[in-house]
């Protein structure tokens, strides 16, 4: 496994020069002008179109842009780099901190969100890739003060200890029950196989999902 400290290190790519003979690209231009300055000066003006989505389809691509994200039914604008993951954009730019970043590589499921109704790991999705799609996070599960039956069941069945994995488990459970309102215990295990709980609450989580499924089938 790679040393995580390397990944956090700020990038050094702004050092690269335009090589002689290379085509004069937008990227070269951005680099030559200093990425920071360009981001501020150019991005919001040219990159957000009428529809509010960044026009990243230019032939050279963009290094940073103000994009608009549809999270839990409301639109948020955020200035992100191309390398910014959806998880980081949600947490650091929009302060939507339900999705947790634990492994940052698709192995634990703590960052699970729905994208156009499908479960995805937000740590492996680029924020720019999520433009124009419907993003659902755990924050969107409750209806005001009234919890989603799954959230109630997690409380009732004591399905968490530290709770760090819980938003991910809730999203995966919701997606599972949306597709299958009467799963077998085996199907619950399989549906949640992308989520890891370090505290080992699995039996309680499985129990909570079964109990919520039953309640929801009865219309509760």
């Amino acid at each position: 496994m790679a040393d995580r400290h390397d990944e956090a290190r700020p990038d050094e790519s702004t050092h690269s020069e335009i090589k002689p003979g290379t085509r004069f690209t937008r990227r070269g231009f951005l680099k030559g002008a200093g990425a920071g300055a360009v981001t501020a000066a150019v991005a919001p003006a040219i990159l957000v179109s009428e529809a509010g989505t960044a026009a990243a389809q230019e032939t050279e691509g963009v290094m940073s842009a103000t994009i608009s994200l549809d999270v839990n039914g409301s639109t948020h604008n955020a200035l992100v780099e191309a390398r910014t993951t959806l998880a980081d954009a949600l947490r650091d730019r929009l302060e939507i901190t339900g999705p947790k970043v634990v492994c940052d590589k698709g192995e634990c499921g703590a960052c699970t969100v729905e994208l156009d109704g499908k479960l995805v790991f937000s740590c492996m999705t680029l924020a720019m890739d999520a433009q124009g799609r419907k993003i659902e996070t755990v924050e969107g599960m409750a209806d005001g003060d009234s919890l989603h039956p799954l959230q109630e069941a997690f409380v009732e069945k004591d399905a968490l200890m530290c709770g760090f994995c819980t938003p991910g488990f809730l999203m995966s459970s919701k997606s599972l029950l949306d597709a299958n309102d009467n799963p077998t215990p085996e199907e619950v295990r399989e549906g949640l196989s992308g989520n890891i709980c370090r505290c080992g609450t699995y039996p309680h989580v499985f129990e909570a999902v079964m109990s919520a499924a039953e309640k929801m089938r009865k219309g509760g």
Binding site: A35, E60, R83, K105, C123
Partner: protein, 290 residues
Amino acid sequence: MHAFDYATPESVADAVVMLSDHGKNACVLAGGTDLIVQLRENRRRTDLVVDVKKIAELNALSYDAATGLTIGAAVPCYRIYGDAEIAAAYPGLMDAARLVGGTGIQGRASLGGNLCNASPAGDTIPPMIVLSGEAEIAGPNGTRKVAVEDFCTAPGRTVLEDGEFLVSLHFPAPLANSGAFYRRFIPRNEMDIAVVGVGASVVLSGDRSSFVSARIAVGAVAPTPLFVREAGEALAGQPVSDETIRRAADLARDAARPISDMRGTAEYRKHLTSVLTRRVVEGAVQRAKE
């Protein structure tokens, strides 16, 4: 993750221009379930990420009982097994599409990405090989087709040249009395990399007593997923029996050139190849009879 640019071409031609302009300094993004990890761990660097998901051909998914199945290179697994007609016609492919990661991975991971990533253990590659899959590639010189069994050349390497990318995968329509099966061996039930994976497809005679033809491919036992032509050929014209199947399994085992690693020793993998091949051919025969 180091900085890069992001582009979303909307046509194959635009993507080719971008990829050609940047050569080795560009890479293609489909679901990102391999690529984002590689970039984050600095195993790979790039100046430009070309997201191909906005190109219509890459999202195509169509099946016709006469002409077969076309899967756009960026179509995520869930769409493939979510299509009842396709799932019924290609159960051997579904075996693999359903076990790539968990649901959170299958929402994004594509067969194209699995193939282009060229891991020796890529689960969808052996079934694509035995189903006679063909890859359609676009590049500066137009399009060309390459059989899936010839696509991967080394771990992480493919036949794709600078400026080229995978557009779609095509599979012929299943023949009468045919069946395919894929199975891998992993130490846990879900979410792990295959120690050995085996795919097989068979065509049986009308009375189902003998093999007309067969194709067998193995994963995780060589630098690339391996098409073991001789193992399938040994079945052609032979009766469906434990003995003929065992012989094919031995040939698959002999073709395997595994390494020893934390998932298993080379010897263990060879043994597993033989056992799995036997079971997988039996599974394919069973499906051919259904």
